[in-house]
Structure formats: structure tokens, C-alpha cells
């Protein structure tokens, strides 16, 4: 029988290094996967991990993809630390895009500098409200937030499809299920000319710093950590489980909603059924890869975005199937969790006592 025993001694260094180790093992296992598909493994890994960094346009795309991942993952990390599992960030992302986008469409013939802030607020509130559904069900009736938040993703997807096929459809759009294009003052300003890098990236960086301060210097972060490591001590300290559950779900919902709005008002520029690209789910990987710490998450979002962009390139240059790229990305979380366990425990083979 195999058993796990806690490692004694200082595992601090080991635990800091696990994300790096996990990325390295993913590269090796990925190379084996691509080789078994008959592709040149070295070239595949080079295309995925190195090429995007050498090209200026790819570098800006890296930021465009990393920003929503980081924004969502930071929100999720608070809940994950406290033991509250919001798996439905994808749904809150969609609702944020919808409410923020609907605001833009409501003012399609009026422009002004106030419009983007208003859209951002509407997007964050939309995601917040969507996350309040599992929060209320959990605190009132003990419903499992994992299931509720996950199922609401599919509700949100269908709601988006319904709305862009109906009330929000572009009247001049030949019945395509798409909204109008947002006009200029409803679109995020571009940071670097000729790229899609928008101002949402800067806002994400600002929020990362604020989240870092909240987590490590503020009572809110203290309560989150306390609840995660000793729930009964938290209750003894006077931390209300109900309030914290609502706060964690609400915060992650609001940030996911904001990310959704940035996506709609940034690279996409309108509401389309294909808007959700899986950021909400990938952000879960990013949150753990970043050790549930805002600064770690910023780094992790860049790594994961790299595999996305590189993965796309590998798909059309090497004809690697999209499913293989998804497997490759999934391996990252798998190896992270596995390495994590092995960093904290040692495996021991025990003969069954009889």
C-alpha cells in the first residue's frame, strides 16, 4: 500500500519552486505527446514557449490574453484561500460583458468620456450579481457553491446567445446573431499603436497591486487567510462566515465581470456568442499556478497566455490538433498539483498490516 507522509524540515524553498518545476515537467511530457503524434517535439516546444516572445506583435497579444486571466484569477484566489470555490467565473465573465456591453449599446448614439467608466461599473456589477446567486444559495440554504456557480456558466452562455439573437442584435446586421459594433468612446483606448493592447491591461496591473496590499496588509486578507487555515479560529475571532462567503464570491464575480467587459469593449468590440473563450476556467489554473498570490498570478497569467498563443501558432504551423494543445494545457495544472503534493509529502510504500 502506498501512503503519503508529511515531509519534515524546511519545505519552503521546495514549495516556491514547484510552479517552475511543474512548467518544466509539462514541457517534457508535452514534448513526448507531440513526438507520439509524429511532430518534432523540440520545434513544437520552441514554437509554444519561445517564438511568441521574439515577435513584437505576439508580445502585445501576450498582454491582451494575460490581462483577463490575471484579473479573474486574482478574484478567485481570495475565495480559494478561504475555502470558497467559485468555479463559475466564466459565467460571471459573460454576464459582465453583457451588462457592460448593453450599457454601451444603450448609448450607441451618444458619446462621452463618462461612458467607459459607466460600462466598467455595469460590467463589474453584472458579474457581482451573477456571483451573488451561489452566495445567497450557499449562505441561506447551504447549497454547494461549486455546483451552482458551474451550472450558471451554461445559463449565462445561453442568455448571451438569446440576447444577441434578439433584443441586442444589430438591426443592420443581416440577422447575424451579433450586436452593433461599439463606437469609439465605448471602446477601450489602445496603449500601443498597431496592436490590440488596451488600457484594461494597466487597470489589471493596478488591481493586482491593490489585491496584493489587501491580502498582505489589510484585515480583509488576514480574515481570508484565517478562515482558510482555521475556520473555527476565524469564528472565534469574530469573522462572519456569511459575510466572507458573500465577499469572496462577490469580489471574484465583480473582477470576472470587469474582465468580460474589457474583452467585449477591447479586442472584440461588440457582443458575439463566441465571446467566452474559456478565460474563466483557465483562470483557475492561473490562480493555483500563481500560488494564490496576486504577484504570482500576474507571472502565471503570462506563462499560460504564452502557451495559448504558442499553441495557436503550433496548430497552424505544425498541424498539431487543437485537442492535443488542450491536453498540453491541462497537463500544466495536473503536474502543478502533483508536484505540490510531492513537495509537501513523501511517498512511502507500506506493507499492509495483517
Amino acid at each position: 500500500m502506498l501512503t503519503l507522509e508529511p515531509r519534515t524540515g524546511n519545505t519552503h524553498l521546495l514549495q516556491t519552486l514547484t510552479p517552475v518545476l511543474a512548467v518544466a515537467i509539462t514541457m517534457l511530457a508535452g514534448a513526448a505527446l507531440f513526438a507520439s503524434l509524429g511532430k518534432d517535439p523540440v520545434e513544437a516546444i520552441r514554437i509554444i514557449f519561445l517564438d511568441p516572445l521574439l515577435d513584437p506583435y505576439s508580445r502585445s497579444e501576450l498582454l491582451v490574453k494575460a490581462a483577463p486571466l490575471a484579473l479573474i484569477a486574482i478574484g478567485l484566489s481570495f475565495g480559494f484561500r478561504a475555502g470558497i470555490w467559485n468555479i463559475g467565473a466564466e459565467g460571471q465573465f459573460i454576464i459582465g460583458a453583457l451588462t457592460g456591453g448593453a450599457t454601451a449599446l444603450a448609448f450607441y448614439d451618444i458619446s462621452g468620456v463618462w461612458l467607459l467608466p459607466l460600462m466598467a461599473i455595469a460590467g463589474a456589477l453584472g458579474g457581482f450579481a451573477w456571483a451573488m446567486i451561489p452566495a445567497i444559495l450557499k449562505t441561506r440554504w447551504g447549497a454547494n457553491e461549486i455546483l451552482v456557480s458551474l451550472m450558471l456558466v451554461y445559463v449565462a452562455e445561453l442568455l448571451l446567445s438569446a440576447l444577441v439573437s434578439g433584443p441586442l442584435r444589430d438591426p443592420d446586421g443581416f440577422n447575424f446573431p451579433e450586436s452593433r459594433q461599439f463606437h469609439d468612446s465605448a471602446t477601450l483606448p489602445i496603449l500601443l499603436a498597431g496592436t490590440r493592447a488596451h488600457i484594461g491591461i494597466l487597470i489589471t496591473l493596478g488591481i493586482s497591486v491593490a489585491a496584493y496590499v489587501a491580502l498582505h496588509r489589510h484585515v480583509f486578507g488576514y480574515h481570508i487567510k484565517l478562515m482558510g487555515s482555521a475556520p473555527r479560529a476565524a469564528s472565534f475571532a469574530g469573522v462572519s462566515t456569511t459575510t466572507m462567503t458573500a465577499a469572496c464570491l462577490g469580489l471574484s464575480g465583480a473582477l470576472a465581470g470587469l474582465a468580460g467587459l474589457f474583452e467585449a469593449a477591447g479586442p472584440v468590440g461588440q457582443l458575439v456568442p463566441s465571446l467566452p473563450a474559456g478565460y474563466g476556467f483557465t483562470a483557475i489554473i492561473v490562480a493555483f499556478l500563481g500560488r494564490l498570490d496576486p504577484l504570482g498570478i500576474v507571472l502565471a497569467s503570462l506563462v499560460v497566455a504564452l502557451t495559448y498563443i504558442g499553441g495557436e501558432t503550433a496548430q497552424f504551423t505544425l498541424q498539431i490538433p487543437a485537442a492535443a494543445i488542450s491536453v498540453f494545457q491541462g497537463m500544466l495544472l495536473f503536474f502543478l498539483l502533483a508536484v505540490d503534493v510531492l513537495a509537501r509529502f513523501r511517498v512511502k510504500y507500506m506493507r499492509r498490516a495483517q
Partner: protein
């Protein structure tokens, strides 16, 4: 009659506490043998050793004259020793038969097993239906499932750990009938309890433990409940003189506090009335599981009660949470150090912040004041001689006694109006215990009302001015310490329903 089980010189030490020291006794086939003692006397360690869950440091056990050294429960069961634990390990969503099959190395076919269960159950008057879901069964029925599970292995020794703590009086009678029938069939029963009346009516012999040692053996039926209580609690306890104290005004009052149990294993608090005055040390004695944890949670604010049930410093405060109470000056230290009073993985500084935030002003507009927090933690460490490398050390790394000094010191240094502590010196070495007791006395001398919930009678006799007993969720009227004889206290703690005589104070 030669002994079936013979225990010779069993010794087991844990860091800071000698759980069993040179334990000796013998049990004959068919004998119902009581292991009697207060909580912490070493009963659990002893039976866990016999059941193979604990390896002794010294000493031998013999079964039928042959050396018996079980390396785990499987070996103990194979040798014929079975145990029914106080808390059951049954899956509510499975049937009785499925639960029993889960514990077997090679379960027979479902139909065969069902028949075996019915046969055994009928033979011993257990009335167990193998097809019912465990979730639908009462505590007494679940216990019968556990007993049936043991009996299917044809045990020669059956260990029952506090079996009546979850039963109704009627269920207790059914259980006794079953145990007597087993005894007639030649099964020896080790019966762990501190309920004296039960032991007198059921057991043939009793071995009495105190502080990990055998302090007596007797035939319980030949002794009075009072004599048993004396043996259990110990006569070397001298009766201290009532301490001279001049209590001030009532600072905390509980009025007709009734709180239903939250879990099946919880205790309902029944119409508790209590008044704590400034400068008074009020001890609440009682065996664990009689409502101590529940009362503690009401006082700390973790369980909210109707506002008028609790009055603190002239204000109704039953509905207030821990934060509000701390600001008002009501501080507390729960029994469980790791996980409740302190977060194991967090540093001592973070743990100082846990309760010190409000009164020590360790946060400013929601932001942590790390320097103040570290200073506060350092003050606790210095004042209470907490042995630790520094304030960054996680709470988990401290020994029990050191962490307890930290946890109690954290509250004392905040100069409370009322301090409530549960088991302040549980598992703490003598030196640390003395430090804590002195600090609590000093606190009261400066006008704080101190409420101590403890199972340690010596401790309460040493530091309490007044004294009540919590038994089955009911609190007796307070007595001046020293106005009661030890055996009166023992009777109150042992579960005799008699009211405390001549309420004074």
C-alpha cells in the same frame, strides 16, 4: 479462576504527561470489569493499548497466558479483542448490513450476512434490522449495530468506551441486558465509564485510575457511590479554607439560558443562571461533554442567544458577536488551542492579532499595524515566559504548554473586565500550569471577573472562590469553595441527579 486478560506494568508517556504508569489488573472470562476514572485519568490510553491503537513504552499483556502484543486493531481483533467506540463509525447512507460488510476482511454474501446479523442479534436481544438505512436509526440502535459488528467476530473481550453517554435511560437498560447475556456466555467486558451508579449495578470488578495510575480495585456492588467517588477523585485532596474575598458588583449575568444542542453529540443547555462579580474567580466543574463547549461558545459570542439572556456590564449582550464583546471587555480562551484559540499555521504575531486587534488597536482603518502587533506578541512571550524562537514562529511549532501560556497571556494582557477560560491547564506541564493559575488569580485581584471551566478539581479548589457544577447541561447553584466535601463534589460530577445542598455565596 485463571485470568483471560492480564495487564502487567503497562506504561505510556506522551510529551509532558504520563498517560499510563505501571498499570496492573486481570480480567477473567465472563467478567464485566469497569475501568473507572475522571477524564484524563488514562482510561482511553489504556484501552487503546489493549486494542492495538497505542504501543506501550513498557509492560506486558497476556491473553490466556500467552504474550499479547497487538500491532494494530486487526491483530487485536484476530486475537479476540473488539471495541465499541464512543463515537460510531457508520455511513448513514448505507444499510446496516452494508456498513457491517465494510468492516470485514472477507464479507460473506449479502443474504448470508443478513442471516448472520439476525441470528446474532436475536441471540443477544439486540433487535437489529440488517436492511435498514443507518441514517434512520437512533443513537441506541446505531450502537447496537456496532455491537453486532463486534459480535460477528466472536470476540472474547469486548471493550465498551463510555457506551451510555449517547443513550436514553431506556436504551441503557437494554444495553445492560445485552452485556449481561454476553457475560453469561463467557465474554469478558471492559467497561469504561465515570458514571458510578451504572458501574455499581453492572460491573463485577472495578479498577480505578487516577493520573495514569491504578489507585484502587474493588467490587463496585460492595461500595457506596460515595466511596467510589472518593476513590476516583482521591482523598489526598485537602479541603482548602474558603479564600477571603470581597466580590464587587455582578459584571456578567446569564438568565434562564437555554440552548438546544446543535449536533446529535452536543448537549442542550437547560435554564442556566449564573452571576459573576468583579474580583471573583468562579469555577465550573464537570466531566467533559456535559455542556462545557456549548457554554463556552455562548460566552465567547460564537453562539448567539436572545439578547436578554446575557447581561454584561449593564448591557444586554446575548445577541452580540465576539468582536463586540471584546470591545466591551469580555474576553475568552477556548479549550482547544490549535484550530480554535489559535490558527496552527499562522505566526504568533498573526495569532496575537486574532483577538488583540480591537483592544490593542492593532489595525488602523483596516490596515494591519505590524509593528504594534509584533510588539504585542513579544510582550505576551516575555511576560508569560513562552519558549519560542520568535514572533514569526507558527503556533503549530510550540509545545502545548507554551502555546497555552501564549493563548491565556494574550487575553490577560488585554486587561479584560471578564475573562472566560475553558480548561486553562489541560495537558500543560506543572510549571506552566502554576504560571497560568497565578496569572488568573492576579487578574481577579485587580478586579476582573474570572470564569474557569475545568475538569480538574484540584485546580478549581486551588484558585476558585466559588464553585458550580455543570452536569447534563444544567448548572448547580454556586457554593463557596471549601463548603463542599470532596465526595459531595464527586457525586455532583458523577452524574447523580441530586441538587447541590444549601446554595450559598
Amino acid at each position: 479462576m485463571s485470568a483471560l486478560l492480564s495487564i502487567r506494568g503497562l506504561t505510556k508517556a506522551y510529551p509532558g504527561v504520563l498517560a499510563n504508569s505501571d498499570i496492573r489488573f486481570e480480567v477473567a472470562a465472563g467478567e464485566i470489569h469497569a475501568i473507572l476514572g475522571e477524564n484524563g485519568a488514562g482510561k482511553s490510553t489504556l484501552v487503546k493499548t489493549i486494542y492495538g491503537l497505542v504501543t506501550p513504552d513498557h509492560g506486558e499483556m497476556y491473553l490466556d497466558g500467552k504474550a499479547f502484543e497487538p500491532r494494530g486493531p486487526q491483530q487485536a481483533r484476530a486475537a479476540g479483542v473488539s471495541m465499541v467506540f464512543q463515537h460510531f463509525s457508520l455511513f448513514e447512507a448505507l444499510t446496516v448490513a452494508e456498513n457491517i460488510a465494510l468492516g470485514m476482511a472477507k464479507p460473506p454474501k449479502a443474504a448470508d450476512l443478513g442471516r448472520q446479523i439476525r441470528d446474532i442479534a436475536n441471540a443477544y436481544g439486540l433487535s437489529v434490522d440488517p436492511d435498514r438505512l443507518v441514517g434512520e436509526l437512533s443513537a441506541g440502535e446505531r450502537q447496537r449495530v456496532e455491537i453486532t459488528r463486534c459480535l460477528l467476530q466472536n470476540p472474547r473481550i469486548l471493550i465498551m468506551d463510555e457506551p451510555t453517554s449517547v443513550l436514553t435511560p431506556q436504551e441503557v437498560q437494554t444495553l445492560f441486558a445485552t452485556l449481561r447475556r454476553l457475560s453469561d456466555q463467557g465474554v469478558a467486558i471492559l467497561y469504561i465509564s465515570h458514571k458510578l451508579d451504572e458501574i455499581r449495578s453492572l460491573c463485577h470488578h472495578a479498577t480505578i485510575l487516577r493520573s495514569g495510575r491504578v489507585v484502587g480495585a474493588c467490587r463496585p456492588a460492595e461500595k457506596t457511590t460515595r466511596q467510589l467517588a472518593e476513590m476516583m477523585i482521591g482523598l489526598e485532596l485537602t479541603r482548602p479554607l474558603p479564600r477571603l474575598f470581597t466580590p464587587g458588583e455582578a459584571v456578567m449575568t446569564l438568565r434562564d439560558l437555554t440552548v438546544p444542542a446543535e449536533t446529535p453529540f452536543g448537549t442542550t443547555l437547560k435554564r442556566i443562571n449564573l452571576s459573576l462579580r468583579t474580583g471573583e474567580v468562579l469555577g465550573i466543574a464537570g466531566v467533559a461533554g456535559n455542556g462545557q463547549d456549548e457554554l463556552m461558545r455562548v460566552l465567547s459570542g460564537e453562539t448567539r442567544v436572545p439578547r436578554e439572556c446575557m447581561i454584561f456590564d449593564g448591557r444586554q449582550m446575548g445577541h452580540r458577536g465576539p468582536t463586540y464583546r471584546r470591545i466591551a471587555g469580555l474576553l475568552s480562551a477556548p479549550e482547544e488551542r490549535l484550530g480554535h484559540a489559535a490558527a496552527a499555521d499562522m505566526s504568533l504575531a498573526d495569532n496575537a492579532f486574532l483577538t488583540g486587534r480591537q483592544r490593542q488597536r492593532l489595525a488602523y482603518r483596516g490596515f494591519l499595524r505590524t509593528t504594534s502587533t509584533t510588539n504585542f506578541a513579544r510582550a505576551i512571550i516575555t511576560r508569560f515566559d513562552v519558549r519560542t524562537p520568535g514572533t514569526d514562529t507558527p503556533a503549530r511549532a510550540l509545545s502545548g504548554g507554551n502555546l497555552q501560556k501564549f493563548v491565556i497571556g494574550r487575553e490577560i494582557l488585554q486587561r479584560p473586565k471578564v475573562l472566560v477560560v475553558n480548561q486553562p491547564t489541560w495537558g500543560v506541564d506543572a510549571h506552566a500550569a502554576a504560571t497560568i493559575r497565578t496569572a488568573l488569580r492576579d487578574l481577579a485581584a485587580n478586579g476582573t471577573g474570572v470564569l474557569i471551566i475545568s475538569q480538574d478539581l484540584d485546580e478549581l479548589m486551588e484558585i476558585a472562590d466559588t464553585f458550580s457544577v455543570l452536569e447534563s447541561g444544567t448548572l448547580t447553584a454556586p457554593q463557596r469553595t471549601g463548603s463542599l466535601t470532596i465526595d459531595e463534589i464527586g457525586l455532583m460530577m458523577g452524574g447523580s441527579t441530586q441538587e447541590a445542598p444549601n446554595a450559598v455565596a
